[in-house]
């Protein structure tokens, strides 16, 4: 069975319309809730998160327009589609100004309705994922910026990128110039087997990220020649990989990678946030290393002081 494609709330005072609209939408695997009054619809929307609200305009009691006006004030309002038997320029304009995404005139064909709902759902989910990305990114930024401990910065980067992209896992490696290899510093969500797969050659493993400082997308591990260990990746269940360079003073110092278990096409927005996190991570890593160096100096000096006091005695 196909998965449910989204929850839809339908408001109309006519039983026959409710029946036909819900039949059409249920046939398309949508989950449908019907209401006969605006009050009922608002109540339903308070307890359930709907993706789309399909509404008539002329009804006894609260009008469709009034219901819409109240609904758009909800925290995450559904997309609104107006369906009316009495179309007018004024009501169309007002509906659209309130925020309706479509205005369908009765009688309409099942296709017309389904198309409008599909489109609204697609728009809604794009908006949702975009606001989710922003929220998650803000959290990660806050976390990674609130520490100077290198370990914590690295851990936040890999855990954060996994969370941001809803991926399987992530790694952060530094470039070892002498060996021409990538040295793993931090990872999240990956097995030891996969992490120990072998030395990672700068020129063989997604080389453009290190050599040309480009973010690169591997959307199908099985058929991509840029991987050094495709079999290990497949065994791990990895199907797609996103890589971004960590740049400091113009040089590539490392690579941040995210691994997904599906052959996934990342949206441009996801890639943008990923690159942004890589950039922020490299700055935070630099700060953490400077702090670490200073802290080391502090520790050495403190030991020297202890030695000194030991020599002259405490009393």
């Amino acid at each position: 069975m196909e998965v449910r494609r989204g929850k839809i709330l339908v408001l109309d005072d006519e039983e026959i319309v409710l029946e036909s609209v819900s039949r059409i939408l249920r046939d398309e695997n949508y989950e449908v809730t019907v209401c006969k009054t605006g009050q009922d619809a608002l109540e339903a929307a308070k307890t359930t998160q709907f993706s789309v609200f399909v509404t008539d305009l002329k009804m006894p009691g609260m009008s469709g327009l009034e219901t819409m006006k109240q609904l758009v004030e909800f925290e995450a309002p559904p997309a609104i589609i107006v369906v009316t038997g009495f179309p007018s320029v004024d009501s169309a304009l007002e509906s659209l100004k309130i925020g309706a995404v479509d205005y369908i005139q009765k009688p309409f064909s099942p296709d017309q309705l389904v198309q409008a709902v599909d489109k609204a759902i697609a728009r809604q989910s794009a908006r949702k994922s975009s606001s989710r990305l922003e929220t998650v990114y803000d959290q990660i930024r806050s976390e990674i910026a609130s520490t100077l401990e290198l370990k914590k910065v690295l851990g936040t980067a890999t855990e954060g990128v996994t969370r941001l992209l809803g991926a399987q896992g992530a790694t952060l490696s530094l470039v070892d110039k002498k060996l021409q290899q990538l040295r793993l510093l931090s990872s999240f969500g990956l097995t030891v087997d996969y992490l120990k797969k072998g030395p990672i050659d700068l020129f063989k493993s997604i080389p453009e990220t290190c050599l040309n400082q480009q973010c690169s997308v591997i959307s199908d591990v099985e058929h991509d020649a840029r991987l050094q260990y495709p079999q290990a990746a497949l065994r791990e269940g990895i199907r797609s990989i996103l890589s971004a360079p960590l740049v400091a003073q113009g040089n590539t110092v490392g690579v941040l990678r995210a691994y997904a278990t599906q052959p996934k096409t990342f949206t441009q927005e996801e890639i943008d946030y990923f690159v942004r996190l890589a950039d922020l991570s490299s700055l935070c890593i630099q700060n953490a290393r400077r702090y670490q160096d200073t802290k080391d100096q502090y520790d050495t000096l403190r030991d020297d002081l202890w030695d000194y006091f030991d020599k002259i005695g405490w009393e």
Binding site: A92, V101, D102, Y103, D138, A145, S146, L280, T294, Y298
Partner: protein
Amino acid sequence: MTARPEKTSILVVDDEQILHESMKRILEEGGYSVDHAFRAETAKKMLSEGKYDIVLTDLMMPGSSGMDVVKEIAELYPDTGVIIVTGYPTVDSVVESVKLGAIDYLRKPFTPDELLDVVKRAVDKLGSKDRREKIQSGFQEVEKALASSLDLQEILKLTCSQVVKLLNVKGSAVLILKPQKRALEIASSCGLSQSYVDKGVMDSNKSIAVALQKGETIVVTDDEFDKNLQYPSEARNEDIHAIVSTPLRVKDTIIGFLRVYSRESRNFDDNEMNALLKFADYAAKSLENAMTFAQVRSDIEGMKKALEEGR
């Protein structure tokens, strides 16, 4: 909030000569710069050559229809606002044009006031959209800038300059709380005159005391300066008309405030407020890091000195 921007540019697309002339006159008197096109083709050509903030277009014209102009703008010039001006609106054309992004409708015949109103509303709408986008993209620069240093003075400076840029305000200041002195000291500022910065000691019990006690963000506009500010006339002399103060928290303790100063007497919209809070949170973390770093550095200096003296 900045210096007077350039005139809003408007393109009027309509095939009626007489209407054209009167619209041009009304809009120019309203302070807009106006071009016109009699045909959709001409309009498309003009759009490709110059930047227009707003296009007022009829839908029914000889040759290709006004809807083509609307479509072209939706595809190629998404920042341009479209207002449909038409004598014969149909439900279909209304729905189609709004779906394509038209922001308003003006029905012919209209009065000069109706025309100016609809354009003013569009300008406001575009302005807030523009600000929203600028703030969103501005944050990328903010986060890089504030993570680019561990030096306390540098971070203070960056905090002030970045918030001014992000919110496009007159100036800003970081005020650090000195509990023993019951005072707020300006640790860094941007866009303010030296005499304003040096205006006097700020009593932490007087200046925005409420904000301090509750840890809230406070907006004070110029009509409340006398009641709420310790130095109201100095603020007026500085051409400040609104001040927003938001606490800077380090480990749940308020260490001071971030203040932004506006040239206009106004409240900030939700979007700007959220941005300010997000900014303050991030700036506080950078300040905390810089303070931690400075502490270790000063401990090192202390130990070095002790060792030297001992030897």
